[in-house]
């Protein structure tokens, strides 16, 4: 491989303050009608860095990404890619590879025709285009299906091709919007591994997800977004350190769960509670110490507890700590 994929590894000097940021968003703000969808979001991504934007449904991940890719104008704020402003039709676009949240391919064209078409849009042509199409088909494991129409593909194959179509022009910044939604575990692992590899090869990656395991596994830095605001940012380790003293207790149960959650909130040692989907989640100072009181409260509130789990601090706990709600769907 050549070009953007073999940029020297700049991990040593990566960080939020690196002047040579590949992506620099400053003060991005956007409303839809009266709804403020994105509120003053600023973030920077260094070369070779994988940045995860973690947030629940409707947090504003896609809206942010659409502004980063120049598909949506910001009410305020700027986006620069490798120092170039992202404005309509600007050369900055040639540096970005965009993987939309929903598969965006032509089902009535073959995989190869789709790739050739999108390659053309990035001004690839001739031998170079043919080579890149072959490489991307190989990378996505679709070489022997290249001549088949996309409508005959499985969901996982479409997802892979959806990513592949953004890699043809060897982008400096790869932007992926929830690329693993609705993908089987095996394809998901393959996708995560390849995203990891892109970062390792020197590409800057902006990755959105609402799965905290994904963010923890592949991202160098994570920004937590909720209600259009970036509420925390740091390496997964830094973020988890904020709640290092806390355990998360997850109970699956039936009964009046919101009432039970409120009751738990009154217990000493419980700092945050949330309920939903047959589950009550507590953020507590010491899981083992508080558990008897919690089970006691459950019995009093006539709650049938199916299972109890005490979990080490993770990004899920961070989110609960910061927002008072849990991240899971």
């Amino acid at each position: 491989m050549d070009g953007a994929l073999t940029l020297t590894d700049t991990r040593s000097d990566r960080g939020a303050d690196t002047p040579a940021a590949v992506l620099d968003c400053a003060g991005l703000t956007r409303s839809f009608g009266d709804r403020l969808a994105i509120d003053d979001v600023s973030l920077r991504i260094a070369p070779g860095e994988t940045y995860g934007l973690l947030g629940p449904n409707g947090a504003g991940k896609s809206t942010t990404i659409r502004m980063v890719c120049g598909l949506l104008t910001a009410d305020a704020g700027t986006v620069t890619v490798a120092g170039l402003p992202m404005t309509p039709g600007a050369p900055a676009r040639a540096l970005v590879g965009y993987v939309p949240q929903d598969v965006a391919l032509y089902p009535d064209l073959t995989a190869r025709e789709n790739l050739r078409f999108f390659g053309h849009m990035y001004r690839l042509r001739g031998k170079q285009l043919a080579e890149r199409v072959a490489e991307v088909l190989d990378l996505t494991g679709l070489t022997d299906r290249g001549g088949d129409r996309v409508e005959s593909f499985s969901g996982g194959m479409r997802r892979r091709l959806n990513i592949g179509a953004a890699l043809l022009h060897r982008p400096t910044l790869l932007v992926l919007d929830e690329p693993t939604v609705g993908v089987d575990p095996q394809s998901r692992h393959a996708i995560l591994d390849s995203v990891r590899a892109f970062g390792a090869a020197g590409m800057a990656v902006l990755y959105t997800t609402h799965y905290m395991e994904e963010a923890e596994r592949i991202c160098d830095r994570v920004g937590i977004i909720d209600h259009g605001k970036l509420i925390a940012e740091g390496t997964p380790r830094e973020l988890v350190a904020q709640v290092a003293e806390r355990d998360r207790v997850e109970l699956t149960a039936t009964g009046n769960l919101p009432g039970f959650a409120t009751a738990c909130a009154a217990l000493t040692g419980v700092t945050h509670t949330d309920s939903g989907d047959g589950m009550v989640t507590l953020l507590v100072e010491d899981g083992r110490a508080v558990l008897p009181a919690v089970l006691d409260a459950a019995e009093r509130a006539d709650i049938a507890v199916r299972s109890v789990q005490v979990v080490e601090p993770d990004l899920e706990s961070v989110f609960l700590h910061l927002t008072g709600t849990s991240l899971r769907e």
Partner: protein, 386 residues
């Protein structure tokens, strides 16, 4: 290759994989053009074999005979010689002729002031149209002399004579030059040469709806975002989509021209001039498509707008009904439609006008293209990054 061409090529490829494009682009206009020319063009293709029995031997009978054998009627009537009334009737019976004119003794004298002596048209029930046409011809002749005393009698062998209504119909049917009334040429216009281009253009106008819907479908399924995320300007996307309309219209109309010429004997004019008109109307449809896309906000709006535009334009432009007989106001409105100008150009060409007759239609269509494209390009910029 420029991205606009790639987009157009991709669209055309998708269109061709969809069988309905072939139906709509070729089979439907062909079928409807054939049907329309069958329905409205029968008077032009009708031919009457007839005989005259001259029992008058006067100058008026001779005039009638020479009228029937004149060049004016040679397309419509063939005069078969008959030696006597009995000979003519036997030819009528065995189908050699479809109607017989009997000019009675004293016919010329009557015209000069004698008694009323009618021309008799003998027909058969097998061929009522022939009887009607014969009656109409006789009536026209009689009317020419404005002689009230002369009249036409009709005798249909075996059964009842045709009703007044039928005769009136026949009189109308005998005026085949209706469509030619306005054209600059001298050839009579046959129906297929009118409905070939008429229907071809009508169905390619449908293509504007296709393309416009396709644009919004791409917006909905995210591929448009993907294209706009690339360094491809909004104008390029619009140009690519519109070019697909151009290619489709060009292919559809050219195929229509070739097929109607070879199969139905239509005449679209000299190839170069007809080709220029086809290119011009295809360009005009590109402008129309771009405008529909730029004005619309949703797929549904685009669909509705394209439909309304198509029908308004084909009705005003005279794709279905020739405007030669229409009131002046309607004909003036047609001058605001690109298809009206195209139809005018095709009509002129197919009736034998000089190729220079299409200069004005070409200019008008190119003007329409320029105006719509300019407005569309102006409007599209505000819609791309919502």
């Amino acid at each position: 290759m420029h991205p606009a061409l790639t987009i157009a090529g991709k669209d055309l490829r998708q269109r061709l994989r969809d069988k309905s494009a072939i139906v709509l682009g070729l089979l439907a206009p062909l079928a409807i053009a054939a049907l329309m020319s069958f329905a409205f063009g029968s008077a032009q293709t009708f031919h009457l074999d007839t005989a005259i029995v001259d029992e008058d031997h006067g100058e008026l009978a001779a005039a009638f005979t020479s009228m029937l054998s004149s060049d004016d009627l040679s397309d419509l009537v063939t005069l078969v010689p008959a030696t006597s009334r009995a000979d003519a009737e036997s030819k009528l019976d065995n189908g050699e002729v479809a109607a017989v004119f009997v000019i009675p003794a004293g016919f010329t004298a009557a015209a000069h002031g004698g008694g009323a002596v009618p021309v008799t048209v003998l027909g058969t029930v097998d061929q009522p149209v022939a009887t009607q046409v014969g009656t109409a011809i006789a009536n026209a002749f009689v009317a020419r002399f404005n002689a009230v005393r002369l009249s036409v009698g009709v005798a249909v062998a075996g059964r009842t004579p045709p009703s007044d209504a039928l005769v009136a119909d026949a009189a109308r049917a005998a005026l085949p030059e209706q469509v030619v009334a306005r054209s600059a040429g001298t050839r009579p216009l046959d129906a297929i040469s009118y409905y070939g281009p008429g229907m071809g253009i009508f169905f390619t106008m449908f293509a504007t709806g296709f393309t416009a819907r396709g644009y919004f479908a791409e917006r909905a399924n995210g591929t448009l975002d993907r294209i706009t995320a690339a360094p491809v300007g909004p104008g390029t996307v619009l140009a690519g989509k519109s070019l697909a309309t151009f290619g489709y219209a060009l292919a559809s109309l050219t195929t229509m021209a070739v097929v109607t010429t070879l199969v139905f004997d239509a005449y679209w004019g000299p190839p170069a001039a007809a080709g220029a008109l086809i290119i011009a109307i295809s360009l005009a449809l590109v402008g129309l498509t771009a405008l529909v896309i730029a004005i619309s906000r949703t797929e549904r709006q685009a669909d509705g707008l394209a439909g309304i535009a198509t029908f308004a334009l084909v009705l005003l432009g005279g794709n279905f009904v020739s405007l030669s007989m229409a009131p002046a106001a309607l004909r003036t409105l047609a001058l605001f439609t690109p298809n009206g100008w195209a139809m005018r150009g095709f009509t002129d060409l197919s009736t034998g006008a000089e190729a220079s007759a299409i200069v004005l239609p070409l200019a008008a269509m190119l003007g329409f293209t320029a105006a719509t494209t300019a407005i569309a390009m102006f409007l599209i910029r505000r819609t791309v990054t919502r």
